[in-house]
Point group: C2
Chain length 371, copies 2
């Protein structure tokens, strides 16, 4: 039990180009190491308020934002348990592993769940959305903005109005794009927009966040057997009344979130941050193309935060990952059915263009050795 250190040879030199958990800046780690008061204290409430008001700005919304002691999957379960009545149907648009997971959450919670899928690498287009919603009546529609497994970004701006026109509530999983890609919650009338913080927020994992509309809260009041831990009514009530949570929250991560939102909103600026993520993605795609590697996503739907690249050169992906690790960088293999058929480069959070360039140089060298 003596040695509990990660990366003992490399220490802090390992730089994560992963689709989460991502590289966390030193200033955030230091901020999170400060001692805290309890979750029922005034200092906590002040911090909670700052974090959730910052989230409202980030998401362009007047909806309340809530904090969850869970991963994003926890809020995905909260959506299902709070918004779908026993005599209703929920529609899950799935374009990859996390869409499939959301559908599984629907099924495993005993909800009447329907899944509409496309081939991995494709997006849900507005046509697919419209066709599906013409065919049947759904009370809730659940969809990923950015699908972390395939690196595809769904055209949420086009899909949202179609879903809302159908009368359904709309839940958007923005786990791997929130704080990296612009998503205007009020303009699109998204009922629940959720994420965890170990992706574009550049924080360690352990906290998930969402915005929640009045319509979602009103709906939850009509749904039975919501459970207690993910009960939106209770979370919302405590948040409104006291800027607190019903159960004990992950205070270090909330402190980190407050610091990061301050940095994102007041130092880097939202537009610049979104632009930087766009540039990182473009650089990665250009690099891939220059190295004769195809992108998995269909053109026009590539993610700005994670690039899923086809193994067009038939490389030994585990070996490539391992060799890059020796240089102090981590990228990751494909997810699920895409293992060894693709690899993924995460470029989100506080990764800068020169960081990415450095890593890609190293990766180019390795590929020339492997191919």
């Amino acid at each position: 039990m003596a040695d509990i250190h990660f990366n003992k040879e490399k220490g802090s030199q390992l730089k994560l180009f992963t689709p989460g958990p991502v590289h966390v800046p030193e200033r955030v780690l230091k901020e999170m190491a400060k001692p805290n008061d309890t979750h029922r204290s005034k200092p906590y409430s002040e911090m909670h308020q700052m974090a959730t008001e910052g989230l409202q700005k980030l998401l362009y919304t007047k909806n309340e934002c809530l904090l969850f002691t869970s991963s994003a999957t926890g809020i995905m379960e909260a959506c299902v348990r709070n918004l779908v009545k026993d005599d209703e149907k929920a529609l899950f648009f799935s374009i990859g592993a996390f869409g499939d997971r959301w559908y599984e959450i629907g099924v495993s919670n005993g909800k009447n769940s329907v899944k509409e899928t496309v081939e991995w690498g494709k997006a849900i287009t507005s046509e697919i959305a419209q066709d599906t919603l013409n065919k049947d009546k759904y009370s809730v529609v659940l969809i990923q903005a950015n699908e972390t497994s395939t690196g595809v970004y769904n055209p949420i701006n086009k899909i949202a109005p179609i879903v809302k026109d159908s009368g359904a509530l709309l839940c958007v999983d923005a786990t791997s794009s929130m704080a990296g890609v612009k998503l205007e919650v009020d303009k699109l009338d998204i009922d629940i927009c959720l994420a965890s913080v170990q992706k574009c927020f550049a924080l360690p994992p352990g906290l998930a966040v969402c915005s929640v509309s009045d319509a979602a809260i009103a709906k939850a009041e009509q749904v039975k057997n919501r459970g207690l831990y993910f009960d939106l009514i209770d979370l919302h009530k405590r948040h409104i009344a006291k800027h607190q949570t019903p159960t004990t929250p992950p205070i270090p991560q909330i402190r980190g979130l407050t610091a990061q939102l301050d940095y994102i909103l007041n130092e880097e600026g939202l537009e610049k941050r979104f632009e930087r993520h766009e540039q990182l993605a473009k650089l990665t795609r250009t690099w891939a193309s220059n190295n004769n590697l195809e992108m998995l996503p269909e053109k026009g739907y590539e993610s700005n935060t994670v690039s899923t690249i086809k193994n067009s050169l038939d490389l030994d992906i585990p070996k490539m990952v391992s060799m890059l690790l020796d240089k102090g960088y981590r990228i990751v293999n494909g997810y699920g059915q895409l293992v060894n058929k693709t690899f993924r480069i995460g470029h989100m959070g506080e990764i800068q263009l020169n960081d990415l360039e450095e890593m890609l140089e190293g990766l180019t060298e390795i590929i020339s050795m492997l191919k």
Copy 2:
């Protein structure tokens, strides 16, 4: 959004004598601030294994120990969802606010839930347990070891055999006593023994842990609609296969847990740690008695980790708490129905006898001014 610091005047001087979140030592905060690899990496798996093997030693069990991205309430919900079938009854022994919460979790998850209570301040005795179990058949019995609201410690060593003789599965919430009070899971055949880490482990909140018996896993396989986030089968499977979790875990807290378990098991030693908590409790009770303050718990059932003290002198509790805060110490008011009728002193985690003596000196001064 600029000022995100807690206790800006006192900085790190505030010392928490709270029933959680508690004071976290500087060495733990520093350990948690180290950069991490991802939750699918070998270094993570090694750390996960160290943490869970340490928990097995702490709990005197060969049962597997699991890590949850949730507060303890999350595992309380997991017990209900995984172990109680639709045609079965669950029995919740409640001696305070957290027992009541567990019963509410049963009800809000649509389970056939029965609550057996006593007056706050009293314990579930073996007689009560036996009488209740003679009256009806329950498939699962759920009970607090240490009830954080009343400061009562149930005689789990006597109750466990009675419950197990009835054929029921036994879930014990040891949130505010695990790592402070000895509880031998295998000897008592406890099926799920759970806690969060912001109590006697002296870690920041954001992680919950439990041991889980083979019988509990076998039972879960028969229960429908377990959901996905708290599915014990999936958590257990990933833990066994890879020392990982199905969803992203709170890596900093797990790193902290690994460090604390190393400290608890190999530096302080389990027996010494349990003894220290006993001494802290005795010191607090003697202090209360010397100040003409009665304990809430009935004699013989007082907690070793949190002292709930009656407001026998009719003190202005919020004022007392606030005056003590000015001295750099936080204690807390009573919980729920006990607000202003009691106050609570937490003495758990890394609080030492001289820390407690110092705080109690200050509190004595304040009481002499207030009474």
